[in-house]
């Protein structure tokens, strides 16, 4: 059987995922993906009627157990801003600094 994830499709996924892979790493990951998809095709071995609803989560999240919305009150950052900014790889005067953002001049 031919691979479901071809090298071309794989390259497209790598681009979408904002990754860059060596040839060796890419071949390993593509092989693993194809192996996993063989298991995923088990899902087609049983009939699933269209009226079976999809479950986004297991336990029904009914109004009775849903927490009340918190009060709509203004809150500060509790003084965390500096500590959070201190984690940034690069920052300047309260801004995150990034390399040139690709753009097109109109």
């Amino acid at each position: 059987m031919s691979d479901e994830i071809t090298p071309e499709l794989f390259a497209h996924l790598v681009d979408l995922a904002a990754l860059a892979l060596s040839a060796e790493e890419g071949e390993y990951l593509r092989d693993q993906l194809n192996g996993q998809l063989k298991a995923v095709h088990e899902l087609e071995r049983i009939p699933v009627p269209d009226d079976i609803p999809p479950a986004a989560h297991g336990v029904p999240f009914l109004p009775a157990i849903r927490p009340d919305l918190r009060a709509d009150e203004a809150r500060t950052d509790a003084g965390l801003a500096e500590r959070i900014l201190a984690q940034a790889p690069e920052q300047d005067e309260g801004y995150f600094v990034v390399p040139d953002i690709p753009h097109t001049d109109l």
Binding site: I5, L9, F10, L13, V14, L16, A17, A18, L19, A20, L21, E25, Y28, L29, Q32, L33, G35, Q36, K38, A39, V40, H41, E42, L43, E44, I46, V48, I52, P53, P54, A55, A56, H57, G58, V59, F61, A64, I65, R66, P67, D68, R70, L80, R83, I84, Q87, A88, P89, E90, F96, V98, P99, D100, I101, P102
Partner: protein, 528 residues
Amino acid sequence: MQLPDLPAYDLVARLKAREVSALEIVEATLRRIEAVEGRAPSPEPYLPAPGDEAGVHAYISLQPERALDQARAIDARLARGEDPGPLAGVPLSIKDIFCVEGTLSTAGSRMLANYVAPYTATPVARLEAAGAVTLGKVNLDEYTYGSSTESSAFQPSTRNPWDPSRVPGGSSGGSAAAVAAGESALSLGTDTAGSIRQPAAFCGVVGLKPTYGRVSRYGLIAFGSSLDCPGPVARTTRDAALMLGAMAGPDPRDSTAANVPAPDYAAALDGGVRGLRIGLSADYFRIRFPDPETGELRDQTLPDEIAAPVYAAAELLRQAGAEIVPDVPMPNTHLAIPAYFVISRVEAASNLHRFDGVKYGYRTSAPVADLREMYRRTRAEAFGPQPKLRILMGMYVSGAQYAKQYYHRALQVRTLIRRDFEAAFDPNGPFRCDVLLTPTTPTAAFKVGAVYGDSVLMQYADLLTVPANHAGTPGLSIPAGLDGQGLPLGLQLLGRDWDEATLLRVAAAYEQLTAGADWRRRRPAVLA
């Protein structure tokens, strides 16, 4: 018995009776860590060294000064005559997927190897408010993506205290190993497909996945947001009950933490099993599992060594007054891993997009032409193979042209899995089970390196635990003896929504019924 080997409830009792101080407990546990840990795991490129195969390597980081300060504060409260809390002085380790203010919070990834959390996760804050003393952060599969802890960027990865040539399971492998080796009495883990229960089974300890929504996820670095459950790892059922009680309940910081009051779990332990209906399902004994040689899925019957302790437990519980319900159909069990391959990857890919080298964590130091190249190089350099695989799979199966075939169908199958549980527990149905009793894992702990690299076989280690994550229902793994090689085996109890108390009650009864068993006196090899 030394202090680090005592159950948490016993430590609390001795502390409150002034037989021991919190400082003494913490100091004794730090000495135990020193004795069994071996070299600390590091994110640097791994070069094996002599002794790596003998240590437990559970802790990524230790915070002894913070712990000693907490212990002194508890002793001071006791001296003033105040109640220091239900977990006072109990040594606690935290899976390094939780943020703890001022500590490295790494997710076992190079991406966050130097990340210091600016706030504390709700379950950690609640455990510390109850008096637990956090000793440090323990290892895990990178971002929790695995079942052996081998995929951590922090190497050497955690070894199984019962046989350090074997894995502790995962992804909460550091948690289960630390608790088994007396390096903490309790550990906070997470369970997305079995990541608490499977390592608990492999390391001979108790692991509880609560109902989804029972414990807040605030401060948990997210994997599968509809599946992730924080929960206890402990050495006894009573300890797990105390720990869950201290963490459970709604949280204004997590809207999925349900508004359901938590009962007194410890009070439920002594109820016995008389009159309870305990179900057995053939679908948990005859499984569709990859052939280790060819990788092809084929129907197999679990080895007798794995199945026999479950049937023996059922017989013990029957003699103690429970009613055993045979042949409870759970026909969609075999689809739980295939559905998980889809659902968890979509959620993981979504959650991993935040790691981009801009706001926190790693950024490439290579020269880059623009922002997009910075993203790609950062993620290529800092993510290991598991996050990369999960992002790629998640993008594929949720892509516009494939989503109906894969993602939508997987979510429909999730409904079918949920219906299996609803039918088994339906009080007006033919089975009317209070709990289901199953093996926790299809095998005992495997050798380091034996499965790692084969992402399909590794995922199937969660075959018997992942259905409860799809359903959202609670599950508990407890020690059930040792196999022929002296490796721990686990029993799994599965229950109704919000009914952890009945799982703990059945587990406590089993603990009492087997209190005299020879295997309960055996200790992990690293403590022999």
